[in-house]
């Protein structure tokens, strides 16, 4: 990697100040940024390591759900008794991210700020009516992801925590890339009373909601309700691991499996 200035602030305010440096980058768990640096594909002037900021950490039960600090590692979410009790499907999602090494390093905030189209967490933020709290404002999960590797975050804006609503029933079903173990397709189905949310990650440039699936499941929350429904292959991702029409097919399969798992 190229040389950079390393900084490790202890408060969000300090981090917000440090990130003003030109070409500065925030460092979460480093599971995307560090390999990028090692490959010399990025050349930040400063690396602002967020690991020393207590206010970014922790999992709290809040009215109607959970609030998880941005610098909470995937393994902490996966193993949290609180998460397992309040939103067990979220713990299950975290347990399926990458591999053990990735889960022990990667963070929630890092994942959603990077907005990799194949990342798992974006589906949870959207399906669980997430609210992303930053050092400047709160952004609704539905508005947060704006495109491939693009979010509503302004330059230098720092995610502090994400609030997830507790669904009545929910499950995340993932078809993982056998090589990278990212999601080729991941479908998060969550039911809140009469409302059903179906958030799809991996399939397209950014996480999206499958409206027709949501309507069908709102009427009849059974896998069979999705028979014959497809998100269509237009605009979906295609690579050597999965073509667009295969991804479209998998969205339906994974959505059905999520419904079945949600019970």
């Amino acid at each position: 990697m190229y040389a950079f200035t390393y900084q490790r602030p202890t408060t969000v305010a300090e981090a917000a100040s440090a990130i003003q440096a030109e070409e500065a980058k925030l460092l979460g768990g480093g599971q995307t940024l560090l390999p990028t640096l090692k490959q010399r594909l990025a050349r930040p002037s400063d690396l602002i390591d967020l690991s020393g900021i207590p206010e970014l950490k922790g999992i709290r039960e809040v009215d109607g759900g959970l609030e998880i600090g941005a610098f909470t590692r995937h393994a902490e979410v996966a193993h949290s008794d609180l998460v397992k009790r309040v939103i067990p499907s979220l713990a299950g999602l975290a347990e399926g991210i990458g591999d053990r090494q990735v889960r022990n390093m990667g963070t929630l905030g890092g994942s959603i700020a990077n907005a990799d189209p194949s990342a798992d967490y974006p589906s949870a933020v959207v399906a669980l009516k997430g609210l992303v709290t930053t050092d400047r404002r709160t952004i609704a999960g539905d508005d947060f992801f704006t495109g491939m590797f693009e979010t509503a975050l302004e330059p230098g804006e720092i995610i502090k925590a994400v609030r997830f609503s507790r669904p009545d029933k929910a499950a995340y079903a993932k078809f993982r890339n056998p090589a990278s173990r990212y999601a080729i397709v991941g479908v998060y189905v969550a039911r809140f009373g009469a409302e059903v949310r179906v958030a799809v990650t991996g399939a397209a440039g950014s996480v999206f909601r499958a409206d027709a699936f949501e309507a069908a499941l709102a009427a009849d929350f059974r896998a069979e309700a999705l028979n014959g429904l497809s998100v269509g292959a237009d605009g979906l991702n295609a690579d050597i691991h999965a073509s667009a029409d295969y991804r479209a097919h998998l969205v339906t399969v994974m959505a059905k499996r999520a419904v079945e798992a949600a019970g």
Partner: protein
């Protein structure tokens, strides 16, 4: 009393303590005073002319010591990397053997081809500066695959290889095969691809060059499976350094799978540069470089046909294979799709006539050479897929068609129609052991149960035989090898009875430090702790040809036995002298030397001490010392063989394949350490399963860019992808021509597994009329195959 750590004992690997606690000593761990670091500037193009190289900006960077190019090497008369095996085409002409310079001179021929080396005080400085070397390329059209290479319009990778053909070779009796096909009742046919693989050793390649100006001696420390071979190839052909001035050390090496047999340009670059700049030079590949520049494996496109009589007896086999050599000939590349492939096409069957044609071509891709199994997995895969198709043609059970055509055990030794003579093997017995392990009679019921759950279940068999213990030098020489393939060992008893063994075999994961010590402990009754195995240093080991082709125990172990025979003969002389008896009266058992019919005896330790304290030796008849050396050249190859069975389940909704049971029955001859053998089988099976289901090295056909250049896209098998294996072996058919009766176990798993898995995949899809699928059976490929075979679903 048998030695608890002798032959047949599952002794835990002695080397693992150091490996597992981070105390291994790998090439990149070596640090020398005043050492510099090298980073190669590599071509981003698959094919281009190099119009010029401007190092000025790089030389101005901090810490840069030198920027050296192919022109500098040419000025110093550095030669081409040699090829160790010459093949002749059908018309008798020698293969095309274009030069392969360590640093390209005027043209680059694959992405990763090195054009310059930057040497700096630190690795990061060298990397920074390497980005500043300005290379003026004129891009040329690229040849990204073997099929494209022989398309008449293809550009030439080498101007002196018309049609991109390296050789067009054949083996077998074409007339006899044509005659058999003419009268065949049934013919089975298959077209298949054995896809290219990246070896992916855990330790990337590395090389450290040193030059001692006072002695004029060079030292190369390198990640090699055969340091003496590198000394010969690099010393004699590339750098012109005589053996006595060139030391090659291959210390702990973290896996090779064949990819570290070969002499690579980086080894010559650091050795040459060390003298040029007067400082040690170290290069260590990063993982991206490993993907781009380690010699790849496999890459065959084949058509095969089996002629049968009305009862399913094999009459003749006809095979045509297109083999990709890559951009240049790697050290043993030409031998892999010829003498390590076509000679194995008889498999376990008594097919009376076989004819194989192999066309090897150049492409703008990384060189292709031996990779675990090297030719034999390709042969096994082709035969065993074809036999399954033949069973379908005949409407026969897949085990029955095999059984009907096996070479019977009582036909051994058996001369195949493709040059080899199998010494031993009981193929029906392997199958008999395997069938109960997988409850074959219960399979149809399990299949029905899976179907009830919406899953497709398949079972696949693969029988294999391999030619290992490479090789009798006279045979290899007659077939074009430019080296002998014997092995050397030295057994040195020290005065207090401990033993140092020097072996020309090289362990890069095989556990020689344990296995070889067991052989010595058994023979002389010494504690295993008192036996040290030394390998991997041309200044310590008398000579060696290294480790590949499952040869260490069969060839290196046999050399060890020969050296121990000599030690014993000498010890007998000393014992006779000490015990005042005739040498013919000395009996030897478990390291004790006894005068027959008396209680007068000596242990080997007493004798060793006396050998080095020869106060009353009759020096005319008896030399001091107990240190003997032997070379062993095998009389034949060894023929490990076995039967692998895979049972799996496919989820038709996603195309995901899950292996539910895998049984491997192998005949490795005698087994020294069952634990190590089982580990070798496990690793081999996973590599074979990896090829069948996951791994695929993809180049873009148009641009020649490596698409699968990282673990994000190149899928390695992981522990949770494979089941617990059922592994059995039997020792009823020991090798008849080496003293240990061993056959070798290093490659077997990889050879049988891919065919067993793919036969099971196709079996699972048989209800859809599927008769073949190319590897890897990725989820999308399986799903698409099912969908395309199901018009109703396709229309949905």
């Amino acid at each position: 009393m048998a030695n608890p750590n002798g032959i047949g004992a599952s002794v835990r690997r002695r080397e693992d303590q150091r490996f597992l606690t981070g105390r291994g000593n790998y090439t990149d761990d070596f640090k020398r005073p005043n050492m510099t670091h090298a980073v190669h500037v590599r071509s981003p193009y698959a094919h281009a002319r190099v119009l010029g190289i401007d190092p000025a900006d790089a030389l101005a960077m901090p810490g840069v010591v030198a920027v050296l190019t192919g022109a500098d090497m040419e000025a110093d008369k550095v030669g081409s990397l040699p090829c160790g095996w010459q093949i002749h085409s059908k018309d008798g002409s020698p293969m095309k053997e274009p030069p392969h310079y360590p640093l390209a001179r005027d043209r680059v021929r694959y992405v990763g081809d090195a054009v310059a080396v930057v040497i700096a005080e630190t690795r990061e400085q060298a990397r920074d500066a390497a980005e500043m070397v300005v290379v003026d390329y004129e891009e040329l059209p690229a040849v990204g695959s073997s099929t494209r290479a022989i398309d008449g319009a293809a550009t030439l990778v080498h101007d002196d290889a018309p049609g991109n053909v390296c050789y067009d070779w054949h083996l077998g009796d074409k007339a006899a095969v044509d005659a058999a096909f003419a009268q065949a009742a049934h013919v089975a046919r298959i077209d298949l691809v054995n896809q290219r693989l990246v070896p992916n050793a855990m330790e990337p390649r590395a090389a450290l060059g040193e030059y001692d100006a006072s002695s004029g001696e060079y030292t190369l420390t390198t990640t090699s499976q055969n340091p003496h071979v590198i000394r010969l190839l690099m010393g004699a052909f590339v750098l012109g350094i005589p053996e006595h001035k060139l030391r090659v050390v291959a210390p702990d090496v973290g896996g090779g799978f064949g990819s570290k047999i070969f002499h690579y340009g980086e080894e010559a670059v650091v050795t040459w540069a060390a003298r040029k700049i007067g400082r040690p030079v170290k290069w260590t590949a990063d993982r991206s470089e490993s993907f781009l520049t380690d010699a790849h494996g496999r890459d065959h496109v084949s058509h095969a046909e089996m002629a049968m009589d009305a009862d399913g007896n094999f009459l003749a086999l006809r095979v045509s294979t297109l083999a990709n050599m890559g951009a240049y000939l790697s050290t043993f590349a030409p031998s892999i799709p010829t003498y390590l492939y076509a000679t194995l096409l008889a498999g376990q069957y008594k097919t009376p006539a076989i004819y194989a044609e192999v066309k090897a071509v150049f492409t703008n891709t990384s060189p292709v050479d031996a990779y675990r199994g090297a030719g034999r997995p390709e042969a096994c895969y082709l035969i065993e897929r074809l036999v399954d198709v033949a069973a379908g043609v005949m409407g026969m059970d897949k085990t029955e068609i095999r059984r009907r055509n096996f070479v019977p055990a009582d036909a051994m030794p058996y001369q195949t129609p493709v040059a080899l003579q199998y010494d031993t093997g009981d193929f029906a017995k392997n199958l008999d052991i395997a069938l109960p392990l997988v409850d074959y009679p219960g399979f149809q019921q399990r299949r029905a149960e899976s179907k009830a759950r919406g899953k497709l279940r398949g079972i696949g068999f693969a029988t294999y035989i391999e030619a290992c213990g490479i090789a009798p030098s006279n045979v290899a020489g007659a077939l074009g090898a430019r080296a002998g393939l014997y092995e050397c060992a030295e057994v040195r008893f020290h005065p207090t009875g401990s033993v140092t063994v020097f072996t020309g075999s090289h362990s890069h994961g095989q556990g020689h430090e344990t296995t070889f010590a067991q052989i010595v402990a058994e023979r002389f009754g010494v504690p295993i702790e008192n036996v040290e195995i030394v390998h991997g240093d041309t200044n310590k080991i008398p000579f060696g040809m290294g480790t590949y082709g499952s040869r260490s125990l069969a060839v290196g172990g046999s050399a060890l036995v020969k050296a121990m025979d000599k030690v014993e003969r000498k010890a007998k002389k000393i014992a006779a002298h000490m015990l005042e008896a005739a040498e013919t009266d000395i009996e030897v058992k478990d390291g004790r030397f006894t005068v027959a019919g008396t209680d007068k005896s000596l242990g080997i330790g007493d004798i060793a001490l006396q050998a080095y304290v020869p106060h009353n030796f009759p020096l005319d008849e008896l030399e001091p010392g107990l240190d003997e050396q032997a070379f062993y050249d095998p009389k034949n190859f060894t023929y490990p063989n076995g039967c692998h069975v895979c049972e799996l389940e496919i989820d038709p909704d996603t195309g995901v394949t899950t292996i539910v049971n895998f049984a491997a029955v192998d005949d490795f001859g005698n087994v020294i350490n069952p634990l190590i053998v089982e580990g070798q089988v496990h690793g081999g099976l996973v590599q074979g399963i990896g090829q069948a289901l996951y791994e695929n090295c993809v180049y873009d056909e148009e641009s020649g860019q490596l698409v699968t250049g990282s673990y994000m896209d190149y899928c390695m098998p992981r522990a949770d992808d494979v089941p617990s294996f059922t592994v059995r072996y039997h020792e009823d058919q020991p090798c008849t021509h080496n003293p240990l009766g061993v056959k070798g176990c290093g490659e077997a798993g990889t050879i049988g597994a891919a065919a067993a898995v793919m036969n099971a995949v196709v079996d699972a899809l048989s209800d859809y009329g599927i008769t073949h699928m190319d590897m890897p059976a990725t989820p999308e490929k399986v799903w698409r195959t099912i969908r395309d075979a199901t018009p109703a679903l396709a229309a949905e």
